[in-house]
Symmetry: D2
Subunit: 306 residues, 4 copies
């Protein structure tokens, strides 16, 4: 797999629940929409998928539903991160057996105090040595209690033959990493719509964007405009998307993304406790954010139910 | 269960591995020592037990070994924290079925940004409503990515009939919580030897001390001296214990604690990757710290192999 | 000067303003009250004194007023911290010329990223070498942008003949420092009423307590009870004081302390912008906190105007 | 003054010392070089100028030297930030009297805990109301102990007629601010070379770059290439500049920048204590970083003495 094979927009896909149970039927309906878009692929069992909320059986159910319903040519990377290398490897084998293309592995973080370069490098090298499918580093200090991969660690890990790239969700964006890795062999994906085209400008091949759960078309459009070199339009759309992203995903997290999906004619619904559903007031705020967005960009209006 | 029933020193017991596999035999040997001490009980499946590193089967194995080998009258609280209330409840039922006395539940933290009072209160109330055994709050920002229970949340949760107390490992110690809860109904345990007697002075009933893995006798002695009201001696021993704790558990975490166990004639051994075993240099530093301690307190020398 | 010479309660004295100008007359009136108490001394030009808000002339005016009106035997330490050793030394000479007994020097912090042990040790050693009066380290990460002295740095600096001690306002309290310095030559003062008697238990000689601005008698009483060895009563009063401190100084900072002074018949008044005065609602909350305190401890009621 | 008047590269100019004293002669020599470049202007008395290390007389001396030696058409913004609005205004008047064009005001931060939107907005509005010259917000959490302006505060302050723009040095870059302010009336300057062209892409008009102290020509070139729309070349040069910036300014701060100046034939020299000069080993590392840079970009070789 080459970095360019990962080019484009990925969706860290949400998990619909009914009465707190995983609802594979609703997930399937959502997949019918996503599979018709230009999305490059799916990040299954990630943060937005509430994977850390699910038990083992539920995770398998979600992954199978995604794999079965993806569009032709779309790829699936599956979250396998766990605190120990041993269990992470077991999970990577499991998702590989199910048919996932890539194993996404978040930095271990429970023992934050001792998660230095040496520990993280040894962890990822062991996992990559034993994973049957390529490994994607997942740098997400916001979820990993502040643990993040250093430039030095990424430079080293990027040379491992079974580590294909990284998804970077740190609020700084992946500029530093892009300046030090060999981008011929190592793909960098922006982990937030907040810095999507700035990451592309610096050499990222795409992005894994929670916003794509409810605005997949706008995300794909932004990618296309940037590729075509229309920097002025790309900058404008990026600013508009950033505003939406901050007010929904940034402010409310997964519960906000799911509310956005509700307004986009998809199955969002409620997250699992301790995540709380939005109040009516907050739902209305989300609606207004989306309304303003489609007033500015009417080409995306038809996708919305607001 | 009353707060005074929890009085004394608890051990957040380590998990020995052989060739990376849980070694129940070694754990049993360690238990033979601990069960002869004045330790009040065991915190099984906690941070020092590397529970987050284990899979489900391994956790059950560890818990059963502890339950089977505990001393008469000693209690067992078992770690059940998971990111969702739903799975946490399932785990609480599981450890209750095995025979654990108390369910210890760390704050959920993956979705740190939205873990406000409201979310944490609803989470713990749901868990406590459904757990068949009493629940112990576990406040440990160092492991939980900085998430911590607020005074307001603890004040509220301390009134729940099935929440028996809290273990506080925040570096500030539990002074604030002790000033606001009803100590007749709610037990507070210091989560670190660094602030053991200062917490007792403020009204804590005991402590869960990683140091007790290799210095159980010294921890129990400190508790006794304090209870006897000899503040001068308590202060001196506390300062000495603090120095040891900082240089071993504080500096090296679980790997340091396990090395301390090696020097105390117990089975410590290596932690699981990404935790790294100590270098020879660092092991020697640990040995010297313990040597200095027993030179100052020769009454604990017989327990050490240094 | 010996550590025991610093024993007792110190007040980090506030600066009253009238129409935003330093009001020496009001400060004098406050001093008439404080000078009649058992307070050990004054921390002039500190955080609660809003020294960082004042220009050079104003600072001299404040310092002179305190020096002129202090009680017999009371000491004055004056804040001299500045980002460079060069200017800090100039300020230390200035306050020494005015008659201050001790120079209090907060950690430099603007260039936080490079404020490692080496930089801080060299800074303090230079300042101590050249200051005509003894130097007091001031560890206050809450004001110093998170910079704090390490145990290693304090161990080293505590041996300098012109460094007499440290005031520690880190939220953890000074337990660690107390376990490693030679308390015969180096005085440790608790920097917050939140951990006053726990610090005393561990070997501190006293405290610099913002609470003493409006509850000097209660702070001195707590110190006395602890010295007398009545741990039960000390623990109760400490918990009550902690509640007050958190709800006033902890919640509102200097503006809250000044409001507390208003209710204690002293001149508090408004702080300087960007510090904001309390709203009427918040003033009422402060009043109720104090009311509850004197209901529990009626012996301090006569000092209050609530 | 319009946003476009601020377009281009600004230098946060360093202060040379001889025997720890401000050396105006050396500063003049540096100015002779800078004044011949395409630099848009100077940020005098900023972080890299070690302004927080200087006393009042020294600051005036530095400012006068810069004003006297600047190139035709170059602008000067001067650092005036202080913890109180009152003293900040006094400083703004002072630098205006000297001839500075713009007052740069860092967020107050000593009382971090209470520096909420309300406090910061009131502070800046008061300063802007009274400053005789336009005010530039300076958002620099790395220097300001983590205090940063919120999007909401900037949105509000950007409408004040005497607030002309902001310099953003937060590690995230100014993407969010650029998406919410009216860029017709409010100029945004990137505060670090790490995210210079990504900020330009999002709508910034220029940057204040510590790197420009020793690589002014490369910074101006990067700006030009971006303006010409050659994104590929801009991206490459940006990545190279980012590498240099991280290894010098990022790693060593002001002391590193001054060492870079030494290798660029300018007067860098040593910073003031507690900033420490680089060791010989570290100087050699800086030399190698610059050597690698000019091997990749030989057009900048003639400026270097390596």
């Amino acid at each position: 797999m080459k970095p360019q094979d990962l080019s484009g927009v990925w969706i860290p896909i949400c998990t619909p629940f009914t009465d707190e149970k995983v609802d594979a039927g609703k997930l399937e309906k959502n997949m019918q929409v996503y599979s018709q878009t230009q999305l490059r692929g799916y990040f299954a069992l990630g943060s937005n998928g509430e994977a850390c909320m699910l038990d083992r059986e539920e995770r398998i159910k979600v992954l199978r539903t995604i794999l079965k319903n993806k569009g032709k040519g779309q790829l699936v990377m599956a979250g396998c991160g766990y605190e120990s290398a041993r269990v992470t490897i077991a999970l990577a084998r499991e998702v590989a057996d199910e048919g996932a293309d890539i194993a996404s592995v978040i930095t271990p973080h429970y023992f934050k105090k001792v998660m230095n370069d040496d520990a993280l490098i040894k962890f990822y090298e062991r996992v990559a040595d034993e994973s049957p499918i390529p490994v994607m580093l997942y740098n997400a200090p916001g979820f990993a209690g502040g643990v993040q991969l250093s430039a030095k660690a990424v430079a080293r890990l990027s040379e491992h033959p079974n580590i294909i790239g990284m998804k970077d969700s740190a609020p700084t964006g992946p500029n530093v990493f892009l300046s030090i890795v060999n981008r011929e062999n190592f793909a960098v994906l922006a982990g937030s719509a907040n810095f999507f085209i700035t990451s592309l400008l610096m050499g990222a091949v795409g992005g894994v964007l929670s916003l794509a759960n409810f605005l997949p078309q706008a995300c794909c459009r932004l990618y296309d405009i940037f590729q075509q070199g229309d920097m002025e339009r790309a900058s404008s759309l990026q600013r508009a998307i950033l505003r939406v992203n901050r007010e929904i995903s940034g402010k409310y997290g997964v519960a906000g993304v799911k509310t956005g999906m509700d307004f986009a004619g998809l199955y969002g619904g409620e997250p699992r406790l301790p995540l709380l559903p939005l109040s009516q007031d907050d739902r209305e705020k989300v609606r207004l954010v989306l309304k303003r967005f489609v007033e500015e960009y009417p080409e995306f209006k038809s996708y919305m139910r607001i």
